[in-house]
Symmetry: C2
Subunit: 549 residues, 2 copies
């Protein structure tokens, strides 16, 4: 047997479970403290997604109990719609399986990897199957104990049962995994706290090994539900277009273009086809070939279509697929959890990267219980606690000139009692890795974040200049007041007038002077703060920000 034959015999398929088991650090399972966070995060994210899809105000329970040396039971329960019995095994017991990957809709989950990898990690480290209990409101409760067959990437159901009883809906999942419990900045507690900020309509109860933490609901309504959209043709690459052409049920290329893409009208379809040379002659003029079937499109024609798209001006994708939190929810979340002296928030208009819509919002919480600078990063309402160093949000904060807004920056560190909140909403968040910890550095995303931060900073700057001016004036006033008595004494001696009258007059003079100063200096400082502003800030005025304390 030749060497090629020998080597050929060694070729084998690698299951996606085996791949991620060996490469578990790609999903973030590189240390024990982080492992606990990721497991909680995946289950809570799924619970919140399910509640919102079913228009249910979320109630989330997280319970963590030590069950051995560096071994914990991690239990997460939601009040979502539940999971139908036959879907439970594959959702939890098979990697790359889910409802969110193939849809263009803003959800927390998107890969179909998270929850099954938590099952995988649990069985790898403790050999324990994962337990799932689910009710869908029909009075039956389904229970499962399951593992993953790693070589086949398929669920192994160890035990299952169904009970009849009171109707309820929701899902509870319990893992036993090797991990450690911490309460630092990258912990389950911090993740839940930040989740409470970015999801102020959720009620969260956390039974930690150190006792109970409760995060109360701040508002009683869900944000508008994002709509699912079709792909925008500008974001579709040639290979994908060819696949869509082969799979479509549309009868002509023209109807394929107008029916399978977002906001692509007949006129634009005509123009694309004309530019791509998919035409015929009719009455002496060249018109789009309205009869060409999608299955008949050659590779060259598909290529020409993609080229044509670049040249035709198209309507942008719709933005009702996005559901930002909005100024009110961002502010309410920051106030509720951080208790600052000042808060401001801004939601930008949607933008597009690689054909995918996204939207940035930011907030600043300043002073009060806020002690030091901190950046809170969120993607589709999920807090991002790791890999800040490579994240587009960190980069945008670093590239913002905070000094222009009267803030102290020393060697690149912002030295103010200030929390900056940044949130990206998108139908497909561009994460730098499967562990979904950081946003890829797309220029258009960084630019949007910077513009949003500038608007917030401008509002802070106006508030701060007012606050600092007040402090200065009251200091001046108190100096004058301190010497009013002595001055009155001296004047009384010289003039022979009554001291008390003179003192009254002096105080009146001080108060008058203080009022006048207030007006003048305020104008001056406002225009100074205005240096850092651009048009949009002027237009928006100050209606969007509020101060609280």
């Amino acid at each position: 047997m030749g060497i090629a034959e020998e080597m050929g015999k060694k070729q084998r398929e690698i299951s996606v479970s085996e791949f991620f088991e060996k490469n578990r650090h790609l999903l973030g399972y590189d240390n024990k403290a982080k492992a606990m966070l990721i497991i909680v995060k995946e289950a809570v994210d799924n619970g919140l997604d399910a509640c919102e899809e079913a228009h249910i105000l979320p109630e989330i329970y997280v319970g963590i109990k030590e069950t051995g040396t560096e071994q914990y039971e991690i239990r997460i329960r939601d009040n979502g719609p539940g999971i139908v019995k036959e879907q439970v095994p594959r959702i939890f017991g098979s990697l790359l399986y889910g409802s969110k990957f193939h849809r263009l809709k803003q959800t927390r989950g998107q890969q179909g990897l998270g929850i099954s990898c938590a099952v995988l990690y649990s069985q790898l480290t403790t050999g324990t199957p994962t337990s799932i209990v689910s009710g869908t409101g029909d009075g039956r409760t389904h229970r499962y104990q399951l593992r993953i067959d790693v070589a086949k990437n398929r669920p192994i159901v160890m035990e299952t049962s169904t009970e009849e009883g009171e109707p309820w809906h929701g899902t509870e999942v319990a893992f036993v995994a090797e991990s450690t419990y911490r309460e630092n900045k990258q912990s389950v507690l911090e993740y839940l706290k930040q989740t409470a900020i970015s999801n102020p309509y959720a009620e969260i109860v956390f039974d930690s090994p150190n006792g109970r933490f409760e995060f109360k609901r701040g508002v009683d309504r869900l944000p508008p539900e994002p709509r699912e959209i079709m792909p925008h043709i500008e974001g579709v690459e040639l290979g994908v277009l060819m696949r869509m052409l082969a799979a479509t049920s549309a009868r002509t290329v023209h109807s394929f273009l107008t029916s399978e893409f977002s906001r692509l009208g007949k006129q634009s379809a005509n123009e694309i086809m004309l530019r791509a040379g998919i035409t015929r002659e009719e009455a002496g003029s060249t018109v789009p070939d309205m009869k060409l079937r999608p299955s008949r499109v050659t590779d060259d024609q598909a290529r020409a279509l993609i080229e044509a798209v670049k040249e035709v001006k198209l309507v942008r994708p719709p933005t009702d697929c996005l559901s930002p939190l909005g100024v009110e929810l961002v502010e309410s979340g920051l106030v509720k959890e951080l208790n600052p002296e000042f808060v401001s928030a801004v939601t930008r208009q949607p933008e597009v990267y690689r054909g995918w819509p996204f939207q940035i919002e930011a907030g600043i919480a300043f002073g009060g219980s806020v002690q030091e600078f901190n950046l809170l990063r969120f993607a589709n309402r999920v807090p991002l606690l790791y890999q800040g160093g490579v994240c587009a949000m960190t980069k945008a904060v670093q590239e913002t000139d905070w000094r222009r807004y009267g803030l102290q920056v020393n060697k690149g560190s912002i030295e103010e009692p200030m929390v900056v909140f940044v949130h990206i909403s998108s139908v497909w968040v561009p994460f730098t890795s499967e562990s979904k910890e950081a946003i890829a550095n797309y220029d258009v995303i960084i630019k949007e974040i910077k513009l949003c931060l500038q608007e917030c900073a401008r509002k802070l700057s106006i508030w701060l200049s007012g606050k600092r001016k007040k402090a200065l004036l009251s200091k001046k006033k108190s100096i004058f007041e301190r010497y009013a008595g002595e001055t009155a004494d001296a004047l009384s001696l010289i003039t022979g007038e009554r001291k008390s009258e003179i003192e009254e007059a002096i105080v009146a003079l001080i108060n008058e002077k203080w009022e006048v100063d207030d007006g003048t200096e305020s104008e001056g400082e406002d225009s100074e703060a205005g240096t850092g502003s651009d048009d949009s800030a002027e237009e928006e005025g100050e209606s969007e920000y509020s101060s609280s304390g």
Copy 2:
């Protein structure tokens, strides 16, 4: 239909091809220049792996031709053993398929993702199938044109044929992909140049759009072939152990332990079983249960085995699975491609992380044609050109105190004409992402790199102090010599002796003094350079380094 049922209908399997198509930045396909590099790298790495496995001195050809706007044909040919006909489609047309994932052997490829992702990227961006030609030495040449069925992660063979002719062996693959050609520090040219350094036994010819580059072989022998090893039980996690227990053909737990793990003898197996409580009573004493079948091991017993392993002192994994380049090849590679004035290299003893053996070697090339500081990173002989910022090698270089070795460091930058070479060999290199661009920050790996760099730096420091001392002395001497004539004149006037005789005597004196100074100062400076040395450097002496230029 309830909401749970509705949501259940949307659940679908996600093929691994779809996953990586949508997440192609995870494999490094985030920009067009990088795309070209990755395609070349995957094919060249496979070619070199195949040649080495078949004990063939590698001859690699890379040809890049522009075929359209930002579109290139990228052709890579090797003289390896070739691929058997029936394996071609799956190797190139199916993600997560390969011979290297399941083996513990030092190879460039390890994931079974690289070459098929290059096919995927080509068809995604240009719609073009990939062409493969292979001969295995039996006189038949197989040709393929293929694509990937993305939804199924299966090859689609567009065309295939077999020709009879002269026997030859090797593989040629040609992609047409969207990309751009550059000749900067992260380009195909740089990758091939560095490949020539780390594989000096390979002959590489590169027909670039700007003309031909040739990298000649520097040595005529392959490094020793690394051996495949069994897993070491210290690196095996519970879930994997349970799977191995279920799959083994060993008849008892004891024979399972001694036959399926690396360097685990009968005595150690006894001890592990005793500690794990897998025992029975025999003649009044507790002995390992030699009859227990692997299939009968309970989950708790498996857990106890893993715990027992942590307590028993075991022999380390063997290291003949590793094939470092060795001092001679590292130096020969650096000299051949960089033409420095001085070169030194060190190969450390193997170490272990997570049960997997690895080995570090490093080299320094200084002066000569080397103009500025540069770090060259390699893993299993493959140059790493991206993501230096997050790589363990960069971290180790930053944490090394280069000033101790007489080198200029300014604000963290090394300001010397010096190239640092670092190479990790391992049966499983811990990359930070699927794109295999950076080494994960394991403490033991960083420590090994630092120790290796220190040894190299010490040698450089000794050479440098010699060089600098020589320069200083020759400057002193020339000053004395400059005034020898005048001094002789004056002495001749005073003493009446002949000027020429006096001058001769003075020059002799200078030369004598210079010789004496040489000795004294040399001793002094040597001991100074020695401050930075530790034991290992003393033991090694200077036999390993050479200077050339």
